[in-house]
Each structure stands twice: as structure tokens, then as C-alpha cells.
């Protein structure tokens, strides 16, 4: 099974031939795809997107820099219109009826795509500044991040993976869903009301504001269950399509 993923702009060292800016997929996603035996292809340009999408059974939209600063200050280059690529690819996958899983800014992109809005919420420290003490990942690296509690709706895709209605997740964002798109439902919020997960089960569209892919490095089986369930959904939908 092949799953598509969108790239993220990664700043490099422009003075060296091979180390300039790049379009990147976080290694965590590649590790997860490898673990579950899934081919992960990254769609890089706006051309022939429908064709590329036909070969894939699902789409992952990863996190990235804030919506207010799309290019991470990339003043050296003609800014690539990353959102144009995101929208074109989402459009192809929605039209082909394939599952989509958005993470962090990907979550916001999904809401925006279906007609909602996002905003910079006031309580940034609770969702962005690092907690103390910081945990170690499976490679022995101490990773700086924030964690917070999230309240989860029963029956949602989040509940299917974590099995609880109050969970702890990592967090690294300053923007969030403001006006919800009409076709989506909020299925998780933090105590201060910030939207943390959205879904539309019939359309197989899911989004989390936190980073479950970090669960690979942090040895979190429940984060991995989110991906397992997503891949399972992609498989089932593909079978229904063929049947």
C-alpha cells in the first residue's frame, strides 16, 4: 500500500552546493511507514497530482511553520507557494474519496480547505513553551517539548486509538482552528478550549493538533495506534473501492 505525504520547506546552508534549502519529510514518518510496511511517497509539485494520487491510498499532511510565516523567513528565495500545493493535493484525494490525516499545521490546513478559519489563540505558553523536565527518546536524546491534557469525545478516531477521554499529548503550536468548517466535527479540546482534533468519519478525514509521529521516537504505542488505525482505514477504503 502506498500513502502520500506533503513536503515541508527546510532551510539549509545556501553557501554549499548540496546543502541548500530542501523539501523535506520528517524522518519519523519514514520510520513509521517502514515499520508498517507501507510505501511513503512525497508529492512535490502541483503537476500530475491526480495521477500521483491514483497510486496512493491515503494522504498525510504533516506539520510545518506557522500560517502567519509560511516560509520561515525564506527571503533568499522566491517563496514557494506551499499552500497552493497543499490545496491541490487535498483536492485530488478528497475527489478520489481517499482518507486524509492532518497533523499540527496539516490539521489547520484541512479546516481551512473545507471553509473554516484559523486564529492565533491567546494562551500560547500552554501549547508551545517547553515543560520541565523533558523526556528522552528511544535514541537517548532529550527532546524539548510541551505536553498538556486533552479531552476527547467518545467514538472519535482519537478515542479509538487512545481508549480514554482524557489523554496527555505533546504540543507545539500557536495557531488553532477558529471557525470550524461545516463538514467537520471537533473531537478533542484542551481545558482552555483550544481545538486539538477534528474529524469527518464518513469522508475519512482526520486531524490532530499534536504530533503523534513523535510517538515513534518516544516509544508511545498509543500514538502509533493512531497511525495503525489510519493505515487500516486506508486499506479498508481501498478494498471497498475495488469491490
Amino acid at each position: 500500500m502506498n500513502i502520500a505525504i506533503l513536503p515541508r520547506w527546510r532551510r539549509g546552508t545556501l553557501e554549499k552546493i548540496w546543502a541548500g534549502h530542501s523539501f523535506s519529510v520528517a524522518n519519523d514518518f519514514v520510520s513509521i511507514a517502514n515499520r508498517y510496511g507501507i510505501g511513503l511517497t512525497c508529492i512535490l509539485t502541483r503537476f500530475d497530482v491526480e495521477h500521483a494520487a491514483e497510486n496512493c491510498d491515503g494522504l498525510i499532511i504533516p506539520g510545518g511553520c506557522s500560517m502567519g510565516d509560511p516560509y520561515e523567513g525564506g527571503e533568499e528565495f522566491d517563496p514557494p507557494d506551499l499552500f497552493a500545493l497543499d490545496d491541490k493535493v487535498i483536492d485530488a484525494f478528497v475527489r478520489q474519496g481517499k482518507p486524509i490525516f492532518g497533523i499540527c499545521r496539516g490539521n489547520q490546513t484541512i479546516n481551512r480547505f473545507f471553509g473554516g478559519t484559523i486564529y492565533e489563540f491567546p494562551n500560547k505558553p500552554e501549547h508551545y513553551f517547553y515543560n520541565d523536565p523533558t523526556p528522552f527518546d528511544r535514541y537517548g536524546n532529550q527532546i524539548k517539548h510541551r505536553i498538556h491534557h486533552v479531552n476527547v469525545e467518545e467514538g472519535s478516531f482519537v478515542h479509538d486509538a487512545y481508549g480514554e477521554t482524557r489523554i496527555i499529548t505533546n504540543s507545539y503550536h500557536s495557531f488553532a482552528v477558529d471557525q470550524l468548517a461545516p463538514c467537520l466535527t471537533v473531537v478533542a479540546r484542551t481545558d482552555d478550549g483550544v481545538v486539538e482534533a477534528i474529524e469527518n468519519k464518513e469522508m475519512h478525514i482526520y486531524g490532530t493538533q499534536w504530533h503523534p509521529e513523535l510517538g515513534y521516537r518516544m516509544n508511545e504505542p498509543l500514538d502509533m495506534k493512531l497511525f495503525e488505525n489510519f493505515f487500516e482505514t486506508c486499506r479498508k477504503v481501498a478494498q471497498e473501492r475495488e469491490g
Binding site: M1, N2, A4, P7, W9, R10, L14, E15, K16, I17, W18, A19, G20, H21, S22, F23, S24, V25, A26, N27, D28, F29, V30, A33, N34, G37, I38, G39, L40, T41, C42, I43, L44, T45, R46, F47, D48, V49, H51, A52, E54, N55, G63, G64, E76, F77, P80, D137, Y139, N141, Q142, I143, K144, H145, N170, Y172, H211, L214, R217
Partner: protein, 244 residues
């Protein structure tokens, strides 16, 4: 038109949520593809690679900061061994899949070396790293005004080759950044460009629709160089012809 390329592992800052290791495609390739109205997807592992090879019209095999372990061409293995061994896990699988699917392949820098090793050739260290690797002075400036540490050297181009289609036969100046080079050319391949110290700079096999250069034509995007960009235009034309 839909081309495939490979990601390259880039070390990141593991202590930050979003800035860990990445699997990257140099932006030049993406901008060039966009400019040429071509779709581009990046392959991240050997899983399901045959399906991708069926779907795409050609393969762009990029360079790599890691060198190919000599054990793959009968030499003494690296000590300590290369942990990621992208030749083993990615390059060789991609070449195999695309070649078997009859799709054209364009190799660049380390990609050329992967192609040569895959089809039975060997590699060696360049005789004079100074000429093929060290930066020269002063640094040229790219289209955005960034000084880029660069080296160029002349090459001699064979007539009636894919390099001659771009630079014309005879002499050309190309950039260079490699410390390994082709030693024994893989059977079936023809040398179509050499530098003055005899280092092999480009090979091709027209029957297999496989072309490779030891330098970095994708830098044409940053250097606003219309000449080297023709490599990609011509490669897309070959892919289009094969499609029919």
C-alpha cells in the same frame, strides 16, 4: 509527465519536536520540475517501489553526501560501516525497479556512481581532490545574491552524446563536488565526458535510456543557467518519447 526522485537523509536537531532528522529533496529539483511543468514525487523507501516505477515516467537519481560502500563493487568495506547505506536500501532498488519497468533514468553526481556500480562497474577515489572538490576563490553569486562555494573545471565532451546535446561537442566548463569517481565503466555504458586528469565525468547507455553526469546540473536553477537546464528538458523529452 511525472518524474520520481529519491529522498536523502539529512541530520537534524533531535532535541526539538519538528527539527529532527529529515528525508529531503534539494529544492532545485522541485523548482526545476515546476518550471518545466513536470510532476515530481519523492520515494522514501524501497517499499512498493515497483508500483511507483509503473506510475512514473522517469527517475531522477540525485547526489548524496554519503559515499557508496566499496563492498558493493568488490572493494574493502568502509570501517566503520555506513549506517544508512542508501545505495543498498534505496538507490539500487530504485534503479532496478525503473530499469525493469523500462523507464529512463538520469543520474547526478552520487547517482551516476550508483548507476555505474549497479550495472557492474567500480569506483575509485579521484586522483586529485583539489580539482574535483575543493572550493575555488572567489565564490560566484547565485540569482538571489548568495555567494556559493563552488568549483568548476573543464571537461571534454564526446560528439553525439546527451552531454553534447546540451553543451555541444568539445570543451565545456562544469561545476564539480565529488571525491569518488567511476573507475571501471559498467558494461554497455559509454564515457561521454572526461576532465583533463582523465576522470570520467559523464556516461550514457542509449539502449537502456540511462544518462548520468558527475557534476550538478540542478544548480542551473540557482545560477539562472539556461544551458545546464537543458539536461532536464532533454530528459523529460526522452521520458515523453518512451511513454508513447
Amino acid at each position: 509527465m511525472l518524474l520520481a526522485t529519491l529522498v536523502r537523509f539529512k541530520e537534524g536537531a533531535l532535541n526539538k519536536v519538528w527539527a529532527g532528522h529529515g528525508c529531503s529533496v534539494v529544492s532545485n529539483f522541485v523548482f526545476l520540475a515546476e518550471q518545466l511543468n513536470a510532476g515530481l514525487i519523492a520515494i522514501t523507501s524501497q517499499l512498493e517501489i515497483e508500483k511507483v516505477a509503473q506510475l512514473c515516467d522517469g527517475l531522477l537519481l540525485p547526489g548524496n553526501s554519503n559515499n557508496i560502500d566499496p563492498k558493493h563493487f568488490g572493494g574493502d568495506p568502509f570501517d566503520p560501516p555506513d549506517y544508512w547505506d542508501e545505495y543498498e536500501s534505496l538507490d539500487s532498488k530504485a534503479i532496478e525497479a525503473f530499469h525493469r519497468a523500462g523507464k529512463p533514468i538520469f543520474g547526478i553526481c552520487g547517482g551516476m556512481q550508483s548507476i555505474n556500480v549497479y550495472f557492474g562497474g567500480t569506483l575509485k577515489l579521484v586522483p586529485d581532490k583539489e580539482n574535483h572538490w575543493a572550493y575555488r576563490d572567489p565564490d560566484p553569486v547565485d540569482r538571489y545574491g548568495n555567494a556559493i562555494k563552488y568549483r568548476v573545471h573543464p571537461v571534454t565532451v564526446e560528439a553525439d552524446s546527451f552531454v553534447a546535446d546540451v553543451h555541444g561537442p568539445g570543451r565545456a566548463m562544469v561545476n564539480t563536488y565529488h571525491s569518488w569517481a567511476v573507475d571501471k565503466v559498467a558494461p554497455g555504458f559509454r564515457v561521454v565526458a572526461t576532465s583533463d586528469d582523465g576522470t570520467i565525468e559523464a556516461i550514457e547507455c542509449r539502449e537502456k535510456n540511462i544518462f548520468a553526469v558527475q557534476w550538478h546540473p540542478e544548480l542551473a536553477y540557482r545560477m539562472a543557467d539556461p544551458v545546464e537546464q537543458k539536461f532536464f528538458e532533454n530528459f523529460l523529452a526522452v521520458c515523453a518519447k518512451e511513454k508513447k
